[in-house]
């Protein structure tokens, strides 16, 4: 059962809103970043690797 009478009460949390939402907000932001950072690093890694292989191939072909 929803504990709050309306959406405004849910946001204000009886005066504790900033604390609760702040804690949840920052935590979830950090956690999202934790999950996305390795994915981005993997993409960058593979891209540089691809570039390096490409460069090597061209050099090999030129000779």
């Amino acid at each position: 059962m929803f504990q709050f009478e309306n959406f405004d009460a849910f946001i204000s949390m009886g005066g504790h809103g900033p604390y609760v939402w702040g804690a949840y907000g920052l935590s979830l932001t950090i956690m999202t970043w934790l999950a996305l950072a390795p994915l981005r690093r993997q993409r960058v890694l593979l891209a540089t690797l691809r570039q390096r292989i490409h460069a090597q191939d061209q050099k090999g072909g030129g000779q």
Partner: protein
């Protein structure tokens, strides 16, 4: 059995298997954390004494759990890497350190924010929070050490030794800080009394803890996979992987 162990130690095999588990872990952690958070924020009953600020517990407790468990994961991985010279275990250890530190930070931050409406101050030298702070220092030490060595192998060995020494010390640190706290501040408000909680408050907490475990496993796998790609970047299978994308 031994063959299985050997196989598990192969980064390539691990990369392929973990790739299959990842989507499910991601799904599970998103579903569990979102439903747990909605449940805890909107549907769990209000705490009689602390009011709505108590809803922070649904982040604080799971994060503290995993922050501590994460240190043990790191130490065990380090020990396995050291004893059986398993490269994969080294990579898991390296992957676990920043993740554990981030969760420790979340636990500290939510604890501090929770403290403001409860005690009227952001920082209080509560036993739990103080131990958490020391744990953060231990994590920072490991991360700093791991970045100071020129080769990854030496770095992994060194971190494993430090993590093991830390592991032996953690129970002593926790006990001593607990004892220190009772010495200086006799029984004020206890932050968490999980067993004595109302079942309606407790259920979302369980969901959140489960969700955090899945999330931990997910990020640990992701970090380990990144580490694998980085270290194995000269092998043919990684090169093929890079070109196939």
């Amino acid at each position: 059995m031994w063959q299985w162990f050997h196989k598990l130690g192969s980064p390539r095999w691990f990369y392929q298997i973990s790739g299959r588990v990842l989507p499910w872990l991601a799904l599970a952690s998103v579903v569990l954390i979102v439903s747990g958070a909605v449940w805890g924020l909107g549907f769990a009953p209000e705490d009689a004494r602390q009011g709505n600020s108590f809803r922070i517990i649904y982040i604080h407790v799971p994060a503290s759990f995993l922050a501590l468990a994460g240190y043990y994961v790191m130490a065990v991985a380090g020990a396995v890497g050291m004893i059986w010279k398993m490269k994969l275990a080294d990579m898991v250890m390296v992957a676990a350190a920043p993740l554990g530190a981030a969760l420790t930070f979340i636990a500290l931050f939510t604890g501090a924010v929770w403290g403001k409406p409860t005690w009227g101050t952001y920082w209080i030298w509560d036993a739990r929070i103080t131990s958490m702070l020391v744990l953060l220092f231990l994590y920072i030490g490991i991360i700093a050490l791991s970045r100071s060595f020129s080769t990854r192998e030496t770095s992994a060995r060194a971190c494993a030794i430090l993590a093991l020494v830390g592991t032996v010390n953690i129970p002593i640190i926790y006990k001593s800080v607990d004892w220190w706290y009772t010495l200086h501040q006799p029984a004020t408000i206890k932050l968490t009394g999980a067993p004595s909680m109302h079942p309606d408050m407790f259920k979302p907490l369980l969901v959140m803890i489960l969700g955090f475990y899945c999330f931990y496993a997910l990020v640990l796998l992701l970090n380990t996979r990144t580490e694998i790609l980085q270290r194995e970047s000269r092998t043919t299978w990684v090169k093929q992987l890079a070109q196939s994308k």
